[in-house]
Amino acid sequence: MKEMLTKEEVLHVADLARISLTEEEIKKYQVELKKLLDDVEKINNVKGYDDDILIACWENSAELRKDIAGDMLDPKEVVNNAPRHSGNYIEVPVVISEGEGA
């Protein structure tokens, strides 16, 4: 079994998780993530279980609430919690730059 992940493998999982990494972190995670991935491989050694799955330990049947409007949060308070906001809007940086569009 190999000792560590490749740099590309680490960058792949970091991309899935939307986390940018420094070179130093990549080196560290090559070892640390490998250790955790080795741990979870142990699941393949478990034998004898049946096909039923358990999503949550929950014995009652779904009790959905009635579809009626209740108290709402104040939009102003919600927006004020955003790091960048203006009026009733949350500001975000440019999503598609010029020349990048279809």
């Binding site: 792949h12 999982v13 970091a14 899935l16 998780a17 939307r18 986390i19 940018s20 990494l21 995670y29 640390e32 993530l33 250790k35 955790l36 991935l37 741990d39 979870v40 142990k42 699941i43 478990v46 004898g48 279980y49 049946d50 096909d51 039923d52 799955i53 358990l54 999503i55 949550a56 330990c57 929950w58 014995e59 009652n60 779904a62 009790e63 959905l64 609430r65 949060l73 104040d74 308070e77 919600v78 919690n81 955003a82 790091p83 960048r84 949350i90 975000v92 940086p93 440019v94 999503v95 730059s97």
Partner: protein
Amino acid sequence: MYLNKSIKEINELLKNKTIKPIDLVEEAFQNIENNRELNAYITLNKEEAIKRAKELEDKEVDNLLFGLPIAVKDNIITKGLRTTCASHILDNFIPIYDATVVEKINEKNMIIIGKTNMDEFAMGSSSRTSYFGAPKNPWNKEKISGGSSGGSATTIASRDLPFALGSDTGGSIRQPASYTGIVGMKPTYGRISRFGLVAFASSLDQIGPMTTNVYNNALLLNALVGKDEKDLTSVRREDEDFTRLIGEDIKGMKIAVPNYFMSDIVSKSITSKVKEVIELLKSKGATVDYIDVDYLENAVTLYQIIAMGEASSNLARFDGIRYGFSYENPENIEDVYLKTRAEGFGEEVKRRIMVGSYLLSGENAKVYYNKALSIRDDMRKALKKVFDSYDLIIGPTTTTTAYDLTDPMDDPSKSFMDDVLVIPVNMAGLPGLNLPIGFDDNKMPIGMQIIGNSFEEAKIYKLASYLEKELNLSLNPNGGEDNE
């Protein structure tokens, strides 16, 4: 000094106006100040707590929890009071509504004193992943308090105040309770609304009470439970008083001890203490049998897959757009996500999110996550089956007592292995409680776990209170006496 009295005594004093809620609040803040080096709190609620205590002076003392100070783990949101999850990414976050449990403790007119320290996003077993530094164990300041509810455990153990809330995804109430010598209960999954508990692994998370003794624990649980239409997984049950079996005899109780819990993964000082308790129970007329329970040894692997998978999905919401910390000078929106999360999350959280994202991506979801859910079902069946023949399951809570704050953190598996004995309870959604049962040679607390069938918390409290009385331990690290 009133907070070291029993809740019933304090209640009488409040009722006959010998004391006022402000006396209790001021005493709690004085205790916290005296114990400041223990680093149990991230944020104190001093101004608001004093204001609230004064408001209560004109109100009728209508329940046992009235006017009593309580600490809340910092992953449970509190309107207007900073809630950080011990993370840089939320270190300026002021919630705009209360968690359901917070509404419930407010309805009882309890007073929130502050938000307790914890592992970042409850990911860890020593509270050392906190952005605000680790809390210290009141029994020995060189040692960890455990985690992730380490701050709540610390403030209870050091007798700052009588009540705290924790949360338990894979042992995060019971394990720190064991390390600090207090009583901590993880109730049945669905007992308590998770609305307003910042989600880590939604199918495992549960809020629970942490207290100095069994009676207080059951009393606080009374206030927390109930169906909440804001949490679909909360369960509607008949009202019950969790203190109702306290004081009953245990003669004829049937108790099971899984062999795995007493195997050589647990240090000898702990198993021998548990064996002493087993002998005591037998001598008092309970039946205790050693049994095999399938799949227990797979619990950590299942937990790693399910908890990291669910965490990666839950923590996707921290994007630097809607709340919390945001990277200052992004080039574009992708840059906000990548750099906010890179700077905002600590190492343990990043590791778990990355592995979790991988485990849920594409075909891996089948290879790992679905397989884990399948084995989880079998583990739950195996544990539930025990209750066909037994009232309760007991065993050690932890494999060692609290270790040094300076112990290395470079093994990413370590924080999972610390919880090997407490994780199966979350996997099966069962209630489990830590009860202090003694000390090791270094005078560090040893805890025993009592596990019940779903919704049988009252039975757990029955055995726990019986043992608490029989063992009659001095559990105050400051050396003082504790009342009932």
